[in-house]
Every structure is written in C-alpha cells, then in structure tokens.
C-alpha cells in the first residue's frame, strides 16, 4: 500500500506537498567498506542536489534578507549602486497602516480557507465511508476533475460563472426568483471578492484533503469499530473514541500543509481583481508584488517578503518544531 498512500497524499493542483513521512522500510543504511571512490560516492551523488538547493533556495533566502536592508529602486538597480539603509525599509513598511490591514486580512483569509477546506475535507472523507460504491466513485471522479484543473483554467471558469451580466450564477438566481441578482457584481467589495476567491481555493483544495483523509480512515482497523459497536457507543462517541485518535496526526499534517499553501496564494487573487476593488482584496503576496514589481521598490518589497516569512513562521512554529523533532528522530 505504500505507493497508493504516497500517491494519494499528493497536493492540490499547483502545490507540492512536502512528501512527509513515507514509512522507512529499507532498514538502517549500512556503512560499507571500500575504496576512496566508494567513500566519495554518496557525496558525488548528493552534490548536484546540494549545489542546486544552496544556489537556488539558500542564496535567495540570504539575498532577501540582505536586500531588505538596501535602498533599491529602479535607479539604483540600473546604475548598480549599493545603498545601505539599515532598518529604513522595515520602518516604512511597519509604519504604514495599510501593511497591518493587509497582514491581518491575509491571516484571517488563510485561517478561514484552511478551516473550511479541512473541515469539509474531513466531512467528505467520513461521508465517503458510508456511500454506496457507485456514488462514491462518482464523487471521487468529480473531485478528481476539480483537482486536475489548472489554476488559471479554473480561475477563468469561475470568472465566467460569476460574470455580472451573463454569468450562469446570476442567471440561475434570477430564475429562482431572486431578481436583485440581475447584474449583481460579486466583485464590488473586498470581502465579496475574497469570498469568491476563497470558494475557488476551497473547491480545489478539498479533493486532496478528502482523498488523503479518506485513505487514513480506511486504514483504521475494523475491529476497533466492532469493539465500539459492541460497547453500544453512539456515532459521535465512536468518532471521539476510535476515529479521532487514529486520524489526529494526519489531520494536523494536512492542516499544516494547507496553511503553508493558502497563506501564499497569489494567482487567483491577482487574476480576479488584482487585489481590488480599492485594494480591499490585497494580501501580502499581492502587496509584495505591487511594491516590488509594479512600483520597483525592491528593497521595501524584500522587507515585506521577510515579514511574510516571519508571520508564516509564527503561525506554524509549534507544529514545525514538533514535525522537525519527530522527523529527526525517524531519520
């Protein structure tokens, strides 16, 4: 079952899951005796990956910190000047009330999307267990379609469905008698825009969550439920006593992953309304883009990037620490 599980624990389209703990079955590696080549071999094998990671991930991480202390606008960049400004960029960002507004919005948006998608994913996983097989397969195929759709394709389809004048949603609502939805704009406020973006993200995130949680549920030994049945436990009690303990760690993991992904969403928000109207759907990744790429204040944007990583680190700190500890033990 190893392969199946690994496959199912894959990501919603567009994001790679950290392929967290595949069970180690190969046994502890043995130290081999051999010539110099044999001793050097593992390092030679690792070298390409190590160089790539240090160069393409490690260096940019260092660079983003360094850049955040520089004044770097288009002029400095073109002239190749290096102007150190100390904490000026951070002062600029942190003194701007817009930043705090956007940061708070990003955290709230992430939290709502994560809670709704993980909750719905768990609900559907539980539901799938009791479905008649053909209904379950139909549901799985439908979810696969949502999952496989590239983000830009789904974003385009959603724009069409939510179109103000010709969108099928407004037309349907009017048919159902809600005449006020004729020509209703779903993108007239930040909250409403973010709700549509959130719906899109949840819709595409649920399949991964439901599939992996379902795989976890199926793995729970039957006799545990039989024992609970004999004890006369109600559905809720069975869930609390049997399902929950078995699935808790998996649930924590997918929640953690969802947080990582949903926090940095840029594509959907940008393509819908570029963070509008009036900047009301701007989140931190969008703000970083606006400052850095649109206004060419690269130093300020780097400071925003660093702050983004700090916020993300704070949110996931507890889990991250636990995860690294357990993984370190396993390795």
């Amino acid at each position: 079952m190893t392969a199946v599980k690994t496959t199912e624990a894959a990501a919603p389209a567009g994001d790679l899951p950290p392929a967290l703990p595949p069970a180690v079955t190969g046994g502890a590696p043995k130290r081999r005796r051999g010539g110099a080549f044999d001793r050097a071999l593992p390092y030679l094998l690792l070298a390409p990956a190590l160089i790539a990671i240090l160069w393409l991930i490690g260096w940019p991480v260092v660079s983003v910190f360094v850049t955040s202390f520089r004044q770097l606008n288009l002029g400095e960049l073109v002239r190749g000047e290096i102007v150190w400004t100390g904490f000026d960029n951070y002062v600029t960002v942190l003194q701007d009330e817009r930043f705090w507004e956007v940061a708070l919005r990003t955290v709230l948006f992430t939290a709502s999307v994560v809670v709704v998608s993980v909750g719905a994913g768990l609900g559907i996983a539980l539901l799938m267990r009791v479905l008649t097989p053909w209904v379950r397969i139909a549901l799985q195929i439908a979810m696969l379609c949502a999952w496989a759709m590239p983000i830009l394709a789904s974003t385009t389809v959603y724009q069409w469905m939510f179109d103000q004048n010709y969108g099928i949603l407004n037309k349907t609502l009017v048919q159902l008698g809600f005449d006020s939805f004729a020509g209703y704009s779903w993108f007239s406020s930040g909250t409403s825009t973010l709700s549509v973006v959130g719906l899109l993200i949840v819709w595409q995130a649920i399949p991964f969550l439901a599939f992996s949680l379902y795989a976890g549920l199926v793995g729970i030994p039957r006799d545990l439920y039989e024992a609970a049945g004999i004890d006369g436990a109600t559905g809720w009690q069975t869930f609390r006593a049997v399902t929950w303990p078995e699935i808790k760690s998996l649930l924590m993991m997918v929640t953690f992953l969802s947080t990582l992904w949903d926090f940095k969403v840029f594509t959907q928000i940008w393509v819908f309304r570029e963070g509008g109207p009036s900047g009301e759907s701007t989140t931190l990744p969008v703000l970083q883009y606006l400052e850095g790429i649109a206004k060419s204040h690269f130093g300020v944007a780097a400071a925003i990037s660093v702050l983004m990583m700090v916020i993300l680190g704070l949110i996931t700190f507890q889990y991250l620490r636990k995860l690294l500890q357990t993984e370190e033990g396993k390795i």
Binding site: A23, I53, A302
Partner: protein, 272 residues
C-alpha cells in the same frame, strides 16, 4: 437505510458541486459563437460546435505559449527527477557523515515559501542575464520541485529491499548495473507519481512566469490565459475552449497516476 440514502443524496449533490465548473467550461466551449453571451437561460446546450476550439487554437500566442509551457515544465521536471534520484539513492542507501543534516535540509527546503523569494529570484536572474529567457523559469521550477522529488523518491527507494540489489551485485552486476536492472524498474511507479505532481506544480505556476518573462514569444500558458480578455475580448466561448485545452494535459497526467496506482500496489507486493 434511510440514513444511507440521505448520505448518498448528499454524495451526489457534492459530486455535482465539484463537477459543475468542468461541465460549464466544456459546454460553454461547445456553444456556437454568439450564443455564449446571451441573456437566455442556457444551462443545457442546444447545439454543439467545435469552432471555439479552432478560434482558441489559432489565436496568436496560444500555440507558442503551449509549446513554452511544455518545454519549461518537462525540462524542469526531468532535471528534478534525475537529480532527485541520485540524491534519493544517496540518502537511502549510504551512510555518510552529514547525512542527517542533509535530510533535514531537504525537509526544510520543501517548505520554503517560494513566493516570498520573488524579489531575490528576480534580481538573481537579472544578474545571471537569464531574465526574460525561459531557462530562468526552468531553474525556478527545478528548484521548487527538487526537494519534493528527492524526498518522495527516497521513500520509494527505501521501499525496495536492499537485499535485491545485493543479490544482483553478487550475480556480477556492478553497483550501476544493480541500480539499472533492479532498482530503476521497481522505482517505475514511484517515478511516474513523483513526476506527475512535479509536472502539475510547474504547469500551474503563474507568479514567476509573469515576472521573469516579458517577451510575448516566451510567455507560458498561464500568463497567456490570464490576459484572455485582451486576446478574446468578451468571447467567453473561446476563453473556455482555451481553458479546456489547457486542462487536458493535466487531466491526462492525473489519469495516468490513477492507473499507475494499481501498478504501485503490485510493486509494493515485492516487499513480501
């Protein structure tokens, strides 16, 4: 029993919820031009045409961006798989000083929020003079997918009993021969699954493709499609047809994984 049928009804409603956008994309793409933008209620299409697909296919930029997307994605995934496999074998089959730190580095690298590295990546590609060239995207997508590929493949290599390799080496195969004849074939399903998910990531990527590429000849499909209103105006039928064409490769790859999952189970049986 009542409870079960209620559950089934809920399951079907949910299936509709997940399926509807796909349905709507397809039917809008199949509607004749002129009957997409209409005030009539048209949940079910009355006539079917493929002209929208022709329109989308022949739009300036569609084919070149499709080609660019395929080129960038496949190159990056191939590189990540090759480099990932060597790292996976090293992590799984060898004991060496620094192994543990390297494993932790891989784990942490998987969680790097790439979006936050936009500015340094942009500056780096500029300094390397790769900026505006597709190779910059190859590098970024390679970096994004590599830690995941290496880590996942390590799991698959771990799943192959080391005794099989040792037996092959006793039979006179060298280390490379043993890898080629034993490990690689058994790794097949894992390789496919890993590359598909790497493919999806690169296929979807938008932010870097938007920032690092500025020439229309080098645009990838997501960027091209994000400007569909410039290309299609209010021609939603054409835009939907383009979306369908964009979805097909991803869907095909998903279906391949589905099939290989069966193979994966059989491969797992080797463990005995």
């Amino acid at each position: 029993m009542l409870k079960k049928s209620a559950a089934n009804v809920a399951g079907l409603v949910l299936a509709l919820f997940f399926l509807f956008p796909t349905y709507w994309m397809l039917t809008s793409a199949l509607k004749p031009k002129g009957s997409t933008i209409t005030s009539d209620y048209d949940l079910i299409p009355f006539s079917v045409t493929f002209t929208n697909f022709v329109t989308a296919w022949t739009k300036p930029g569609f084919l070149s961006s499709l080609g660019n997307s395929l080129l960038v994605t496949l190159t990056a995934v191939l590189a990540a798989i090759v480099v990932g496999i060597t790292a996976a074998v090293a992590m799984s089959r060898f004991a060496f000083r620094g192994r543990k730190s390297f494993l932790l580095l891989m784990l942490v690298a998987q969680m790097a929020p790439f979006e936050a590295l936009l500015i340094p990546m942009f500056l780096m590609m500029r300094d390397l003079q790769l900026y505006e060239h597709l190779s910059s995207l190859v590098l970024v997508y390679f970096a994004v997918t590599l830690p995941f590929c290496a880590w996942t493949l390590r799991g698959f290599v771990n799943g192959i009993p080391i005794e099989l390799e040792e037996a092959a080496m006793v039979d006179g195969c060298g280390r490379w021969g043993a890898f080629q004849k034993v490990t690689l074939p058994l790794l097949g399903p894992g390789l496919v699954a890993t590359s598909v998910f790497a493919f999806i990531t690169a296929w979807n990527e938008f932010l870097f493709a938007k920032v690092l590429i500025r020439s229309q000849d080098s645009e990838t499909l997501p960027v091209w499609l994000s400007g569909f209103q410039t290309a299609f105006g209010t021609d939603w039928g054409g835009a939907m047809a383009a979306s369908v064409l964009f979805t097909v490769p991803a869907l095909v790859f998903f279906l391949i994984v589905q099939r290989k999952m069966v193979a994966g189970v059989t491969a797992g049986a080797v463990k005995g």
